[in-house]
Amino acid sequence: MIERAALVYLDYAASTPVDSRVAKAMTALMTVDGNFANPSSTHAAGRRSVEHIAHAAGQLAALLNTDADRLIWTSGATESDNLAILGGAHFRQERGRHLITMRTEHKAVVDPFNVLEKQGFEVTWLDPETDGVLDIAKLEAALRQDTQLVSIMHVNNETGVVQDIEQIGTVCRARDVLLHVDAAQSVGKLPIDLEALPVDLMSMTAHKVYGPKGIGALYIADRPGVHVDPLLFGGGQQQRLRPGTLPVQQIVAFGMTAEIARSRMSDDLEHLRAMHNRFWSGIRDLPGVLVNGCIETGFPGILNVSIEDIEGESLLLALEPLCVATGSACNSQIQEPSYVLRALGRSDALAQSAIRFSFGRPTRIEHVDFAIDRYRSAIEKLRRIAPERVQ
């Protein structure tokens, strides 16, 4: 058993710790002296909960430069993605049933599109270029008269590749096609101005930006033809788009994380760049090491690297006590190569050797140096014990 204290966590793209100020505020709200009342209740305590929610919506809206009433609270980015894609496609299905997305999207986007295909919608799956970026010409060529929805993520969760959502949105807006953006990895980390960006639907979550798990939001633009059909029924909350008792403490936490992120975004980005560059400088001379994505234009919080002739599962174990993510999606006890990296043209072997290092606010130089040392020694060990290939 690895001691908790010995772990070195470099998996901030998977989840982040809750900011201690946020955790304290959440806890205070949940108890008898806080604001635990149901915000749907009309009594004074309920009205106070409503005020808390309105304040939090304002904080999140300020981060994104939009109106607070454009935000629908959800349980997280997965639910937001489902509501945007399933709800958006169903709302617009009278106009057409053609949809477009990319092969490198998160499963929370891929799976709803698979569901829609089974329901008779036609989906065009766009391949990225080898650096992970979408060629806008490919999108333009794929758009049809009956295309109703395009879903492209902002920052890729595995590779950190950043898509040009402004350009993508401009193309979609010119054809009156809805653009949904999964921004789970970018909200609170990269500047997003929804007043300026031609984005219709945007998914986000708190736990990737130092908030709690279990709370997210979906932005729905105030524009004719932009709407979603609900997935859940059972109450009138949130304009009947997402019924259910609102979790006041979670929402307040998301609002606080948004305000904190807004106040320190440039410092956070500078810190991430420093950690990212230090780590890459420490391993780039290893023979056979390759970046998945683009080192220059990618989000600096994520660095995904493959290495030639190294078995990925053994590499991951040899890296312990580093907490990092493999490029493989664990399927039972056998690790399958990542479909995202395969879409970038990586071989099964290279995709299987991929490790995602992701940095966060708590990452210190010592953590990065430990990771460099651990990665280098793991590669050296595995190469030392590997036999020559059989001719």
Binding site: D309, E311, E313, S314, L317, A318, C330, S332, Q333, I334, Q335, L382, R384, I385, A386, P387, E388, R389, V390
Partner: protein, 125 residues
Amino acid sequence: MSGDPYSERVRQLFEAPRHAGSLGGALSATLEDQGVRIRLAAEIADGEMRTLRFQAWGCPHVIAVAEAFCADYEGKSVSTLLEFSVSDLMQSLSVPVEKTGRILVIEDAVRSLGNIVRDASNPDD
């Protein structure tokens, strides 16, 4: 959600594979299959395996089973190689059944080594 895919013993064997390496001039067998590369080498004296070494490219279970085999079979009679089966090691190390194919490559390599040792011992046969 998933638990720890490795038993404590697998972790120990993977962390410190004392028998990893090569033996210059020793008899050896090399196999590559199922995404696994394995090379086994043996120094033989008086019908016994005095020293066993392995080199492996594969998942942690492959490395752990190869290490466990070398540790268990050093000092044993060469005749045991031809009877070797990985099933006991798979059970004792809690190797997932999905990995049976790749672990069987080690069994094939051990038996191949057994044949090489036998042929070297009886060059006129």
